[in-house]
Amino acid sequence: MSEITMESNTFSQTSSPGRELAGKVAIVTGGSRGIGQAIALDLACNGAHIAINYRQSAAEAKKVIQQAESMGVHGLAVQADVASFEDAQGMVEAVVAELGGLHILVNNAGINRDSVIWKMTEEQWDEVIAVDLKGTFNYIRATAPIFKEQGSGKIVNVTSINGLRGKFGQSNYTAAKGGVIALTKTIARELGRFNVNVNAIAPGLIETDMVKEAPEKVRELALSEIVLGRLGTPEEVAWVVTFLCSERARHITGEIITVDGGQYL
C-alpha cells in the first residue's frame, strides 16, 4: 500500500479558516502521501507545526513540508521506519529539539499485504503487524512521557472500519487495526488522568491515489456498501482529525469515530 508513489495532491479544501492549533507541534506518521498528507496539511492550515516521517522517498516528504511552510508554519521531515522502536524515539527527540515541543501525535502510517489466510505468508503477517500495530505503539511509547509530564496532549490513531468488522483477505490488517482500537482505549484510560486525549478514527474507503489505482471491482463493491453513495476524500478524514486535536474535543477520549459515509452501518 505504501509503496505506490502519489502524484502531487492539490490541497483544495481545508477545514475552518481559524488558527486554533497555532503554536502546537504535531507528528503525523506516514504524512507524505494519501490520508496522512491531508491530515498533516490540515493541521498546518490550522496553525500547527508539523513533522512527518518517510522511509525512502525524501522528495515526497519534503514537498509536503514545503506546502506546510507556505501556510506559515514550520515543518520537519525525518527519515524513520515506523516499525523501528529506536527510529520512533529518535524522531520524537528530533522533533522536540527542532520544533520546540510536542503536543499532537497522529499515528497514520499503515500498509496492507492482503491474502486469504490459507495463502498468507509469515512475512505478510509480520510486516503488517510491525507497521500498523507496533508502529502505533512505538510512537505512543516515545511520546507518552512527554505528554504525561506536560499534563496535556492529543493522540489520534488511524484505524479502519475493517478493524471493526473484519474483512475477507485481510486477517493481518484487520488484526492490526483491531489491535489499534484496543490500544486506543487502554491508552485513553492510562493517560486520562494526565489530561491526554486518545482517540481513533476508522475511515472507510477513501479516494486516495492508491485507491484510484485499485481494480474497478474494489470501488464498485465499496460503493454498493456506502450509503452516501460516494467515496470519501482525504480531506474529509483530515477534518475529523483536526477536530479531535482541537480544544473543541477536549472532553472526548477513548472514542473510535467512523468516517465512512455509512459504509459499515
Binding site: 484510560r189 486520562g192 450509503v227 452516501l228 474529509e236 477534518w239 472526548i252 477520549t253 477513548g254 452501518l265
Partner: protein
C-alpha cells in the same frame, strides 16, 4: 465560521446543553431557532444569543405533539426560508428503580414515568426528525444530530431513560440509512455526566464515586457537548453518518 449561514433548530434550547448549543451555533454563524416548553428559559436563552450578536427565533412548543412540532417547523421556514440542521436535544429523566422494596413493600416504577421519558426522549426525536426531514429532503441537504447518553449502556435507576436513549441510537442508524439518498446525515452525541440541572442533584458521595470512574476525573461542561453538536452538524463532518459520538471524558471506555 463553522456554521456560517446555516439555519439550525435546537429542541430543548432553553436550558443546559441545548442552551449552550444554541449559543455556540450562533457564535459559529448559524441562524438559530430554539424551542422549549420552558418559556422563561427560552427567553433568557434568546436574550443571551442576541447579546452575542446572534440571530435567534424562540418558539414555545412540545416535541411530543405533532401539531406543535409542525408549527415549529413552519416557524423556522417562515423566518429563515430553510432548515439545514436539527439538534434533537430535548430530554427528561424520571429516575426510579423498576421495583423497589421499601418498608417491606414492593414499589413499582409508574407507567407515567415510563411513558413521559419514552415520549420526550424517543418519540420526540422521531417526530422532530420526521417533520424536519420534509424540507431537508426538498433541499437535498440536512444534518441531524440526536442526543443519546452514556445511560444508554444501562444504569441502575434509569430503566426508562436507558431504554429511551438506546432507542435513539437505533433510530439514528435507521434514519441515516433511510435519508442518505437525500443527503441528510444523521448522527448522535452521547454525553456522559455533564454539569446541568440533571446532575446537580447527585449527592456528594455518589459524585465522588462517579468522578473516580471518569478517566478525565471531572464532569463535562455543556459547551463541550455543544462543540460536538457543532462539529457533527458542520460540513467538516460531511463523510460521517449513522455514528454515535460519546463525549464523556472516557467513562464509557471499557463499559
Amino acid at each position: 465560521m463553522l456554521l456560517e449561514n446555516k439555519v439550525a433548530w435546537i429542541t430543548g434550547g432553553g436550558n443546559g446543553i441545548g442552551r449552550a448549543t444554541a449559543l455556540r451555533f450562533a457564535r459559529e454563524g448559524a441562524r438559530v431557532v430554539i424551542s422549549d416548553l420552558d418559556e422563561q428559559g427560552l427567553n433568557a436563552a434568546a436574550e443571551e444569543i442576541v447579546a452575542a450578536q446572534g440571530q435567534v427565533e424562540a418558539v414555545v412548543g412540545s416535541v411530543t405533539e405533532r401539531l406543535d412540532v409542525q408549527r415549529i417547523v413552519n416557524a423556522v421556514l417562515a423566518k429563515f426560508g430553510r432548515l439545514d440542521i436539527l439538534i434533537n436535544n430535548a430530554g427528561v429523566n424520571r429516575d426510579a428503580l423498576v421495583t423497589r422494596v421499601k418498608d417491606g413493600e414492593i414499589r413499582l416504577m409508574s407507567d407515567e414515568h415510563w411513558e413521559l421519558v419514552m415520549n420526550v426522549n424517543l418519540k420526540g426525536t422521531w417526530l422532530c426528525s420526521q417533520l424536519a426531514a420534509v424540507p431537508m429532503m426538498a433541499q437535498k441537504y440536512g444534518r441531524i444530530v440526536n442526543t443519546s447518553s452514556i445511560g444508554a449502556l444501562g444504569n441502575i435507576g434509569q430503566a426508562n431513560y436507558a431504554a429511551s436513549k438506546a432507542g435513539v441510537i437505533g433510530l439514528t442508524k435507521t434514519l441515516a440509512l433511510e435519508w442518505a439518498r437525500y443527503n441528510i446525515a444523521v448522527n448522535c452525541v452521547a454525553p456522559g455526566a455533564t454539569k446541568t440541572t440533571m446532575t446537580a442533584g447527585i449527592p456528594e458521595k455518589l459524585l465522588e464515586g462517579l468522578l473516580g470512574k471518569i478517566p478525565f476525573q471531572r464532569l463535562g461542561e455543556p459547551d463541550e457537548i455543544a462543540a460536538a453538536h457543532a462539529f457533527l452538524a458542520s460540513d467538516q463532518a460531511s463523510y460521517i453518518t449513522g455514528q454515535v459520538l460519546f463525549v464523556d471524558g472516557g467513562i464509557s471506555v471499557g463499559v
